[in-house]
Subunit: 158 residues, 4 copies
């Protein structure tokens, strides 16, 4: 039987990574970042609008810093997923420890449209996974599916 | 008497801008961003370390998203200061309204060193102020003066 | 009858823009940049490998600077096409003059894989066309269709 | 005797690196890039204006792609210099071979002012030299010393 590279992760790994990403990273928890898809080659997150995340005092816009923080975080998550898939023979716990070894080298965000929505969806994709550096592309959508921001990042891999 | 372009702003403008930036932008308030210098050609901010801003659950590092959010915010602040200086003949209130018209087009952050410190200092400088677009450079330091991250941004000016 | 926004350009405009882009911009001519697709919402270019464009003296790699130059150029071309489509009521000559009014604000390039190929194909897309600023995404492929580099840019529109 | 980390390189290394950078990288040669300073912590280059490097057919502006190519190249040169200084115990030839192992991960350029000048000067500085990745800042000046463009890059180090 052919083992597809896009095989899903086992529940233990998914729940472990969700626990780290959503709860053990305090600032992600503050933002309310939640994982909605976690596949080796595709990750997605959602973030609910709330007052504390507002950037403009009168217009109810999401703060640009929430966008950049979320884009940075999901890019790193995509790298962790890709690294974990590359080490699919390792036990879940060992792959989870790799989370702490992925860190951002640099990142770009393009802000395209006013971020007004009840929630926001993010997607990230690894364009290149090297042995030391990974490059990613990220997208940030409103609830209506409009692209509100896009990003690119480089990450240390260990 | 020659009026220097680097003349300081009047207290009314400074306090008004501080009120908007530190208190009326909810996410800046959440981050604890405070203005420490506000001159036409140079702005600086400080942010105190606190648990909610942690990115790594075991090592006490500041979350990269706090860095990108703060770098984005101070770049915009530098643009507002430069725009206000260009319109120094306007009443303070009118210049303060310009805050809401500056928005980020895009931004880059380079993460250079692990962000561990009791507080962090930011500086931003406008490299070019056009009639429609401004370009900025931003720096993010630890309490010991080490450069921990640097940034570049482009902003809409109105 | 509905006029689609993706309607093709008339031959006069296409030939005029090709003449400017490929011949009247000396550095594009030096690079050998040729337009292969010119639609309102999608542009593509090709560049043939040649010795002068080599970056590494022993390995026959395309110089990274050729990649960044070509990515910058095609991003601007995509903006010119989008602006021309927005002013489809203007005579071709007037729309061609808009070429000289589009200029790069800033740009990012991610180098993903070694650029070895007999020719290279580029594609660019406008993510947002504002009245003053446009944001684009660019891709750079080898002859085998592999993504070798990707880019993002912001451009002045007039 | 104290050996300063900013000690100059020996002539053999300088001439060897100049030969590679200015002559053996064909595209650098085409651009006319010349090294004017080569110190462990600071490198500078010059580029003379010439017709083939023009971007705008009527206004005599340097092509943005020349700027991005030169900024990319000098950032890499600064990394090579920093790496060579770290391996100052190695023979010159071995340090020169390190040139081929430095490659760009990603780069940003901000275009600030119209590039019209008889020549252009570039400076680059390494902000962080890791064992695998280096981050740099680059500046691009007109003959009058005005900052015309600025850049940031990340490079693979081996």
């Amino acid at each position: 039987m052919t083992r597809l590279s896009t095989a899903s992760f086992e529940p233990e790994f998914i729940e472990g990574l969700r626990d780290i990403f959503e709860r053990k990273v305090p600032f992600n928890h503050l933002l309310g970042l939640r994982i909605t898809t976690l596949d080796p080659d595709r990750v997605a997150c959602r973030i609910e609008m709330k007052d504390e995340l507002t950037g403009h005092y009168s217009r109810g816009l999401l703060h640009g810093g929430v966008i950049s923080a979320a884009i940075d975080a999901i890019g790193g998550l995509a790298v962790v997923a890709a690294v974990a898939a590359r080490h699919s023979d390792e036990p879940a716990l060992k792959r989870l420890e790799r989370f702490g070894k992925v860190s951002t080298i640099d990142m770009r965000v393009d802000y395209l449209r006013p971020p007004i929505s009840l929630h926001f969806d993010l997607r990230a994709q690894v364009l290149r996974l090297g042995s030391r550096v990974a490059s990613t592309r990220m997208e940030f959508f409103g609830a209506d599916g409009k692209l509100l921001a896009s990003g690119a990042g480089a990450y240390h891999v260990a």
